[in-house]
């Protein structure tokens, strides 16, 4: 089967010609590796012995006493977020391609930390682009990346957040494409990235589906995940898509609702639903959560929205903060602010049996939460 390049009218490859041969090379490597037993065995071994998979499923009975809410604990994986699923797989592919230099963009810093971690594990050079506003908001993760041997390059123009960091990473890739693999952090970007990232994140939903069937004997009524670029959500949703009775609910930050309030447009190599004005100029996103502060979203989510298979709702900064505190106080779990958006909507989605992707832990957010509430 060929690699998916478009999702309805979304996706594609809107990039300078310079990158096309590298995308072709990646696509063809991925097309053979995704069915390669030795590659899959190596990835599986790393997931079990290095990353800490499978991650557990936790019932949050005090958090949601009126419902049966289960948390898929991606926060318990090594580095503290689902991002490692993608970074492990992509760096493993890069080593097969003979690329010794790895670049990445990061918003909250979780993808940068995951990529720096795997590069340390494989002895590869690692450069992470990060907006200077995010460097301020996510200082602990910047120190972690440096500790792991990565170079963090501040991006000092435009919004100084994830959007500009992504543009700079792509420009670096254009200039160094022959030696460098770009580990994009979400299910965005030109083909084959949206499919590649989805397949590497599918382990979340595959495990969670089996786990909830084992403990409850039935499928959840609703599956909830936060959506910035959308990688934890697509990974969580994908194995439930054929389960027509399972409602798939993506939760965007209210100030970064590229699906809820966006329009069709082209950003970072793909056509998707974006925050853009009528002229196609990309608008700024605004969220307390650096990981959701992005005006675009993976093209497959735009397609799932249009087909009606998944629904996308918004959550304000204050609602996310309330859910953040509630989970800390009722369950002894500090969630990432990103994941807190999903937690808020899990409580009021109207379903009894709910599965939530707890995509990451919140240690990185403590300073920002304290600053806001001081």
């Amino acid at each position: 089967m060929s690699v998916t390049r478009t999702f309805g009218e979304y996706g594609g490859r809107y990039v300078p010609e310079t990158l096309i041969p590298a995308l072709d090379e990646l696509e063809s490597a991925w097309a053979s590796l995704r069915d390669d037993e030795a590659f899959l065995a190596e990835l599986d071994e790393l997931r079990r012995t290095y990353a800490g998979r499978p991650t557990p499923l936790t019932r949050a009975a005090r958090f949601a006493p009126e419902q049966r809410v289960y948390l898929k604990r991606e926060d318990l994986m090594h580095t503290g977020a689902h991002k490692l699923n993608n970074a492990l797989g992509q760096v493993l592919i890069a080593t097969r391609l003979g690329k010794r230099r790895i670049i990445a963009e990061t918003g909250a810093g979780q993808h940068g930390v995951a990529t720096a971690t795997v590069c340390a594990r494989f002895g590869l050079e690692c450069v992470v682009y990060m907006g200077s506003e995010d460097i301020r908001r996510q200082a602990p993760n910047v120190e972690r990346m440096r500790l792991l041997g990565a170079e963090v390059r501040p991006v000092e123009f435009g919004t100084r957040t994830l959007k500009e960091a992504t543009s700079e990473a792509i420009r670096d890739w254009i200039a160094n494409v022959e030696t460098t693999h770009y580990v994009i952090g979400s299910c965005v970007g030109p083909a084959p990235y949206p499919e590649l990232v989805r397949e590497l994140q599918r382990v979340i939903g595959r495990e969670a589906r089996a786990q909830i069937l084992e403990v409850e004997g039935r499928l959840p009524e609703t599956v909830v995940a936060c959506v910035g670029g959308g990688s934890n959500a697509i990974g969580m949703f994908y194995d439930f898509i054929e389960d027509a009775d399972v409602r798939l609910l993506g939760v965007e930050a209210a100030g970064a609702a590229s699906l809820g309030a966006g329009r069709g447009g082209v950003l970072h190599g793909a056509r998707s639903s974006l925050l853009a004005d009528a002229d196609g100029q990309i608008e700024d996103a605004h969220s307390i959560s650096a990981g959701l502060d992005y005006p675009g979203v993976g093209p497959e989510h735009a397609w799932l929205r249009d087909t009606g298979r998944a629904e996308y709702v918004a959550c304000t900064d204050d609602e996310a903060l309330a859910a953040f505190h509630r989970l800390c106080e009722t369950e002894g779990i500090v969630p990432a602010l990103e994941s807190s958006h999903a937690l808020a909507r899990a409580l009021d989605c109207g379903a009894d049996l709910v599965l939530v992707c707890l995509s990451g832990r919140g240690d990185k957010d403590l300073a920002e939460v304290l600053r806001r509430e001081r």
Binding site: G12, E17, T18, P21, G158, I174, A175, V177, L267, G280
Partner: protein
């Protein structure tokens, strides 16, 4: 040996018609007109900053088309708008092509639109040192009038030396097409232009032209004169 072609890139601004007229008087053969985009992936810092200033000055698509028509009224050389896929997607792919041509455009350049995407949009195709021979053939077959050779693996912006990657790219492109080859990205001086002219039929000067244009028509004319001199002594 026939004369070499000099393409000068200017960002669309209210004063661009004056600048374009000065560039043509000084020896520019083609004017490329940038329509600014918020997230220009192929552009280095100089053109990016020019784009930010243009957006801050209200240069949205409709206003850029007005400026294009004003340039058309001032000069008779070919005019080629350059902008990104997002601008076309919002305006309508066919509609923007139609309105740009009605305003005087001779062709179009879309740097984030590889040859196999939106083939129905007639435009100047770009090829890069990383392009395979097969992709060179595809681009040459589809391009509108001339082939744009990106001299470097990188974004736009002046470099100290002409990229060594241009010569092998030009040789491979010659082998697949008889169309004119114009080289751009990194060409900033008369010396660069002269060196490039040994290999190709013309050059595109962007970042350095945008920088000179900020100082006004006289500074731009001086740069264009230097580039023209470099090409004519090749």
């Amino acid at each position: 040996m026939s004369a070499k072609t000099l393409v000068v890139y200017l960002m669309a601004m209210p004063d661009t018609p004056d600048l374009a007229a000065a560039a043509v008087d000084a020896g520019a053969d083609v004017i490329e007109v940038g329509f600014p985009f918020s997230d220009p992936l192929a552009d280095g810092p100089l053109i990016r900053r020019a784009g930010e200033r243009a957006l801050a000055a209200g240069m949205r698509t409709a206003r850029c088309l007005e400026v294009l028509a004003q340039i058309r009224a001032r000069v008779s050389v070919p005019l080629v708008p350059m902008t990104y896929a997002s601008i076309f997607d919002a305006y309508g792919w066919h509609e923007l092509e139609r309105d740009a041509r009605a305003a005087g455009a001779t062709s179009l350049i879309v740097p984030d639109l590889p040859v196999d995407v939106r083939p129905e949009l007639r435009r100047v195709q770009l090829v890069a040192p990383t392009s395979t021979d097969e992709r060179l053939r595809l681009a040459a077959a589809a391009t509108d009038g001339w082939l744009y050779l990106v001299t470097v693996t990188g974004t736009t912006g002046a470099r100290a030396e002409l990229a060594p990657t241009l010569a092998p790219l030009a040789q491979r492109a010659r082998a697949v097409t008889g169309l004119p080859l114009y080289a751009g990205f990194g060409i900033a001086t008369g010396a660069h232009a002269r060196a490039a002219a040994e290999l190709v039929d013309g050059v595109v000067v962007g970042s350095r032209a945008v920088e000179a244009a900020e100082s006004g028509p006289r500074a731009l004319a001086a740069l264009v004169g230097d580039l023209r001199g470099g090409l004519d002594t090749a």
